[in-house]
Amino acid sequence: MQTSASKATGLARASRSLAKVEDLANLLAAAAIFLLMVLGVVQIVGRTIFNAPVHGYIDLVELSMAGMAFLGAAYCQRLGAHIRMELLIGRFHGRTLWLLEIFGTLVGLGILGVLIWYGGQHFWRSYTLGDTTIDAEFPVWPSKLLVPMAFSLWFLRLLIQLWGSVRLAINPAAQPVGVAMIKDAAEHAQDEMHEAMGDDAPDAGTSDGEGRS
């Protein structure tokens, strides 16, 4: 299958390039979590010792939540970490499995498309009509803009996975590229263990062999 092999290089390359952006986005989310920790400590110290709470602390936290909540979504998708029930789909193999994967991916693309467009409008309203936080009156639009941005990245990852699944549905014998492999409960458990132990194991579930740097 020469065509499928050549497709797979393009696919693998696309997947790897996107992965770099996803890693960066997840790193930004991680940085937001770290800053939330720092901000919390500053707030406690400022308030209890100097009687000077951080100006607009709650507003800052709420605005930063979008970073933590959304920026890692595509990264999560690549690693197959968004929750789903694999009791049934895990029993299928070959073409049936990839057709189901295509279906699930299409559902994801559909709803994300709606959320990107209408989440974008939600941002646009806050930008054009005005929207500020409750206390310090910070503008809300940058936080709302993160939704269509992060979801677009997620959308692209789903496109890659769709591409990968279609390729495998056509030729189930091909080497899986750009798809998140289903793990059974035992493999999930293995992951949990790896995470808990802090092993720097390559990412299970990603078949590109493109684990985090």
Partner: protein
């Protein structure tokens, strides 16, 4: 008679004084139309959280909602006038007159127009007072360094007295308050203090500081309102007084029950006219001027501010 219409109104939280008038309107409207015009309030933010009610109106998600100006200052800049300290809205009759007129003021209407909404009736929230723990602030100096939960222009006013403005989610307020992370909290007086259980631990309350209030009221979806047959529109508009009277009666009932309890369990702080004048001097005009200056390019902020005083004069003259 007319067509069958079903209106959904969005509100956060539980049924309370603020919603009592609207519940009555729903009954009246159903009766008058032989059950054809139904209005149902969905509580608990089922249809939308408080801060997104206007967003849901602009996309025609439902036909009406309660909103509070201070939840989203940037969405209703002109409405923020109601949160300025020391507006002449202490007398319930004056308050009702002024806010009814203000709900037709072009700038107030324009704020809602952007969200495809029309102002219906004010919730006529009573004036705020402050409940607190520790040394009662008998003198204005006593506010120095006190940590007070107060937002908007009212928070700015307290800061002018040297208080430290503290923001907390309403639900966590009582806990922080009781355990000394907070010295005082401003809420609509008296019912909201009781709703958030501030009174259970507080040791004193201000009885006549009346530093300001806010505007929580009902707005309708403009598209839905325009689509109503004229007789339904008229029915709604003719009953605005009824809605407001019921709201004010509900607050008064609460006061009747709460005030004796407050006086029994807490120290009552009453300021002299001189003290109040001084407070207004320090925290009134400067906050007003800041607000007018900060908003003058967005809308006629001076005009909005002046209108409140003008309508208050009219109301007093009429009494």
């Amino acid at each position: 008679d007319g067509p069958s219409v079903f209106w959904k109104l969005s509100m956060w939280g539980n049924p309370r004084a603020l919603s009592a008038g609207m519940e009555e309107l729903s009954k009246v409207v159903a009766e008058e139309t032989g059950g054809k015009f139904q209005i149902k309030i969905f509580y608990g933010g089922q249809l939308s959280p408080a801060r997104e009610n206007l967003d849901a109106l602009v996309v025609n998600g439902f036909e009406g909602a309660a909103i509070c100006n201070f939840y989203h200052p940037g969405k209703n800049p002109a409405w923020m006038v109601f949160s300025l300290p020391f507006l002449p809205l202490g007398d319930p009759k004056v308050d009702k007159y002024v806010r009814s007129k203000m709900f037709e003021h072009p700038a107030i209407v324009a704020d809602m127009e952007r969200w495809n909404a029309i102002p219906y009736v004010s919730g006529l929230l009573p004036q705020y007072e402050i409940l607190g723990k520790g040394k009662p602030p008998a003198e204005l100096n006593d506010w120095q360094g006190k940590r007070v939960r107060a937002g908007g222009g009212l928070g700015s006013a307290m800061e002018k007295l040297g208080a430290v403005k503290q923001t907390l989610p309403a639900g966590e307020t009582s806990i922080a308050f009781q355990r000394g992370a907070l010295d005082a909290a401003a809420f609509p007086y008296t019912y909201a203090h009781v709703a958030f259980k501030i009174n259970e631990e507080a040791e004193w309350f201000t009885s006549n500081l009346a530093p300001g209030t806010s505007e929580c009221g009902w707005v309708f979806n403009k598209t839905s309102y325009d689509a109503l047959p004229p007789q339904y529109q008229k029915l709604l508009m003719d009953n605005r007084d009824l809605v407001m009277d019921i709201e004010q009666a509900a607050y008064a009932t609460q006061d009747e029950k709460n005030l004796p309890e407050f006086e029994k369990t807490m120290t009552k702080v009453t300021y002299s006219d001189e003290q109040l004048a001084e407070f207004r001097e320090i925290a009134g005009k400067p906050v007003w001027d800041e607000w007018i200056a900060a908003n003058k390019y967005k809308f006629d902020s001076q005009g909005v501010f002046d209108a409140i005083w003008q309508y208050a004069e009219e109301a007093k003259a009429a009494q």
